[in-house]
Structures are given as C-alpha cells and as structure tokens.
Amino acid sequence: MRRAGVVALNTFREAVRDRVLYNLVFFALLMIVSAIFVGEISIGVEEMVIKSLGLSAISVIGLLIAVFIGVGLVSKEMDKRTLYALLAKPVRRWEFLLGKFGGLVLTLAVNTLAMAVGLFAALWYVKQHLESFDAVLLVAIYFILLKLMLVVALALLFSCYSTPLLAILYTTAFYVAGLFVEDMRTFHSATTGEGASALPRILSYLLPNFENFDVMAAAAHGRAIPAALILQNTAYAAVYCAIVLLIAVAVFSKRNLK
C-alpha cells in the first residue's frame, strides 16, 4: 500500500508539473468576472446565479481533467514505456493502478477544494456575508468529487486495454448514459414489450448512476440535502469504484507489455 502511495504522489506531481492546475486561473477569472457583473444583470437572484455558475464550472472542469488525464494514466505509461523500469521494481501491478487512481483523485480533490474556496469568496463578495445554509454548497461539491472519482475509475479501466481516443469515447459514453439512469428504469411504462423494457432496466443497474450526485439546484436554492443521501452516495461511489478498479486490476494483471 505504501508503494501505491509513492505512485500516487508522483502522479500528483506530474499533474502539477504539466500545469493541470492552471485551470484554477480560468476558474478564478470566471468567478471574479461573474461576481462583478452578476449583481447588475440579475437583481435579487445574484446569489443563486453565482452558486449555479460556480458549481457547474467545478463540475465541468473536473470532468475534463478526469476524462482527459484519466484515460492517459496507464496507456501513456505503456506508450512511453515509463512503466517498464517501474514494474521491474518490487511493485505489484495493482499497487501501480491504485496509485495512479489515487494520484488523480488527489489532484482533483486539491483542484476542487481550491475552486470551492474561490466560489465561497465570490459569494462573500456578492453578499458581503455567508449564511449557514450556504454550507449546502459543500455537500454539492463533495458529490461532484464523488462523481469525478467514478469517472476516473472508469477512465482508468478503459485506459488499461484501449487506446486513449477510444477510452475517451467509452468514458464519455458511460458518463452520458449514467445521467439517464432514472429514465432507463421508468422506460417500461412507455413500452408494451417485455424484452424491450428489461434491457434498459438491467443496464440502469450496471451503469453508474450519476443522477444521484446532481444536487446543484437544491444547493443553489439553499435547500437542505438529506443525510441519508450523503451516506448513500458515499457508499455507492466507494462500492462502484472498488468494483471498477477490481476489473481494471484483473485486466491489467494479465496484460503483456510489448
């Protein structure tokens, strides 16, 4: 496990040196500009606009990093053959995979945390104070991070046996499909055939359910989020990530590195 930590820290260092965190500059600019102009164009709803805009930006930027860096976690190491010297050391393949996953999740966590600070700063600028119900934003940001973990796990899995381009396609397809899981479950009410309704229902349980992680509207309006949902989403993300990582380990452990 310690070796996985060494790989994780190096993955984080790679992201920092490859200037991945420069996206924070873009986010900061977006928040500053929004905070200055939003009050003038939306009297009374500036707080809601800032929150929605901030959460959406955190989610989109995080997704871009998770997908585009996630798909290169393993394939880039194989293409460039940086993996060869590493796997000749006393490090198991699952430790390497876990380290790569942990490193990108750490990068995303730092990135998301920095953006969260930026969002609260913009909110404070607009309202000149913060209220207790603004803490709901923290839950929404936590859910975004859980969602990003799932995306990284999927990207890592596809990265183990596919080209980066295909891995991007697969990961994006899973993400988009995962946004319509509830629709798939209620698909049977719109059909008459047994078979036609069974397949979407089965798929809806296999695909990651990203809909549960979307609480942006509630957070923007300052509505409370039930503790049960926090627990459920945490457990769901942990179990789903574990399953996807186990499949990735099973695939990668048998992979010949040519």
């Binding site: 070796r3 060494v6 190096n10 260092r13 790679e14 040196r17 490859d18 460039k80 053959r81 940086t82 060869y84 010297a85 590493l86 796997l87 000749a88 050391k89 006393p90 490090v91 198991r92 048998k254 010949n256 590195l257 040519k258």
Partner: protein, 319 residues
C-alpha cells in the same frame, strides 16, 4: 562451484496478431539456459530474435505460454525476486517532467530505503554514470545517451545481485559505450551476475564470460565468445601495398580488394605462407596479417544455413 543465478526452462512465448488477435506468432520457442552466479552473460541475436522477449519475461513485463524461470532460486512471478534484480529496458524512457535525481529517488522509494540512504545513493549513482552536473535538469532536455545513463543508474541503484540490461550500448557514443563497459566490468568485479543483450559481437567479446546466441526465437548455441567465433573461423587477411617497382602484380590484384592505395587479400589459414611468398616474390610490401573474425551476421547466416541443411537432411532420410 557457483550455482545458477538465472535458470530458464522451456520458456515459450507467442504474440497474437491479426484481426481480433486470433493468429499467433511464436517469438520464443522452448528456451532453456542458465546464467551462472557472478558471470557476465551476453545474449546475442539479430533484431527480432527474441532477446527482449526473454528479458521481458524474466522481469515480469510479459507472461509465458509455457515454461518456467527462476532468478536466485525464486520464481519470476514472486514480487520479492524484484528486490534482487536491476533492469535496464531497451531505449529507456522516464518521466520527462522529473530531473534525473528525482527519478532515481522515485525508484529508490520502492526499495524501502531511508531518505538519507536515498540521497547518498542517488548522488553516488549520478556520479557513476557521469551525470552529476546534469542531475537537476528535467529529463525532457536529455539526449538519448543521457537517458541511457539514467536507465543504467536506476538499474543498479539498489545494489541488485542480478543486473539485466537490454541493449545497454544502444544510442551511446564511443565514450558512453566505453563507460558502460567499465560499469559492467565493475559490477562483475563486485561479484554481481550480469545478463545483457546485444547484437554487436565486439561488445560481447570484450565483456562476456559466456554468450548465448538466439535466432528466430530458438537458442542456437551457448559458450565462451572465442568458441562461438571459432566455430566459423574465416581465415587470414593480408594488408599490403604495391610499390611501382613491383612485378607480376596482375594475378595478385585480381585476388585482392583495393581500399585507397592498399590491398586486402583474404586467404585460408593453410594458404597463408604460399600467399606471403607470392607477395614477396612480386615485391609487394606487406603491412599486416590478421585473423579474420566473422561478423555476427555471418555467424548467424552460418547457423541458419546449418539449420536449413539439417532440416533438409531429416526430410530426405524420412522419405
């Protein structure tokens, strides 16, 4: 008597190809050999012969279809075995956002070395491979030869008992090649076992106690370099000049090859004195006489042709 540091038994490897990877090409066929403890063993063969495949199997980068291998008595599937080996990949490439010192420190962490120990060893290794002044430069600015040196440093960083080097001289200038040769000899003096692959016979002749020759995935011969070369000895070469005073030179010129003002005449060992006498009588100036050593390519061709002849003989006797 030393035991075997590396034992390979019937190692076989196929690579899938074609649509859906349904076809298979055999890259290594039933390889059985041993590398003795403390020896420098050269693994020779042309490109695509199966050298890198064997090495990758030994370090666990690929998996065999059949056969087993053990390093220092431990099966190659045992992760603990990796504590005792050092590996230099062919044309190594490392994280280019790191400096040489950082990449060595990173690899050292997998060997459970303390921070102080890591610092000391990294500095020592950088000095050993001649990169002490370039240790703080990111690897993206390194030349191919410098990367090769970093590769060598990471392979021996943790004092491994067995060092496996895949084409260690590749991409190096003459000075770099000389330095790598010196490092290999130093490792041998320290009692380590070294297995390295090459397709350059002169490297093997200079360094190896024994060599194994692999062609088309099959081991064709194992022995000391002089034995290997001796198998296909090609006679003698006389280097000479023909002064203006020389007479009856037409017959000699017809048998020799001209290079500048000089001539090279290749003769069988038994005909050497007769050829020298002919040169003396014509007034030629003999500059040198040297034994002709076959190139590795010629040796391979000799092996391949011998294999074909053997196969044809078996076919005829079977009819």
């Amino acid at each position: 008597m030393p035991g075997a540091a590396i034992e390979i038994e019937n190692l076989t490897k196929d690579y899938p190809y074609g649509f859906l990877h349904l076809k298979k090409r055999r890259s290594l066929e039933g390889l059985t050999m041993q590398v003795e403890d403390g020896e420098v063993f050269g693994f020779l063969g042309p490109n695509g012969a199966g050298k890198s495949t064997t090495i990758k199997l030994l370090v666990g980068l690929i998996f065999p279809e059949a056969g087993t291998a053990r390093i220092l008595g431990k099966p190659i599937s045992d992760i603990e075995m990796h504590r005792s080996i050092g590996y230099l990949p062919e044309q190594p490439y490392f994280y280019d956002y790191l400096t040489a010192a950082e990449v060595l420190d990173y690899f050292a962490r997998f060997h459970d070395l303390s921070a102080a120990d890591r610092r000391e060893r990294v500095a020592k290794m950088l000095k050993k491979v001649g990169l002490e002044t370039a240790g703080k430069i990111q690897l993206r600015k390194y030349s191919k030869g410098m990367l090769q040196r970093v590769g060598l440093a990471q392979a021996i960083l943790h004092d491994p008992q067995v060092v496996i080097l895949d084409e260690p001289m590749s991409g190096l200038d003459p000075i770099g090649r000389r330095e790598v040769r010196d490092i290999i000899l130093e490792l041998k003096r320290e009692g380590r076992t070294i297995l390295f692959s090459t397709h350059i016979l002169s490297d093997a002749e200079m360094l190896c106690d024994r060599v194994g020759v692999i062609v088309s995935g099959k081991l064709r011969g194992v022995g000391a370099p002089e034995e290997i070369v001796g198998v296909a000895a090609q006679g003698m070469e006389i280097l000479f000049e023909l002064p203006k005073t020389a007479a009856n030179t037409a017959a000699i010129i017809a048998k020799a090859t001209k290079t500048g003002d000089r001539y090279r005449w290749k003769v069988a060992e038994g005909e050497l004195y007769a050829a020298l006498e002919e040169l003396r009588s014509s007034g030629a100036k003999v500059l040198s006489v040297a034994q002709v050593k076959p190139s590795l390519e010629e040796y391979f061709m000799h092996l391949i042709e011998a294999g074909r002849a053997q196969a044809a003989a078996v076919e005829v006797s079977g009819k």
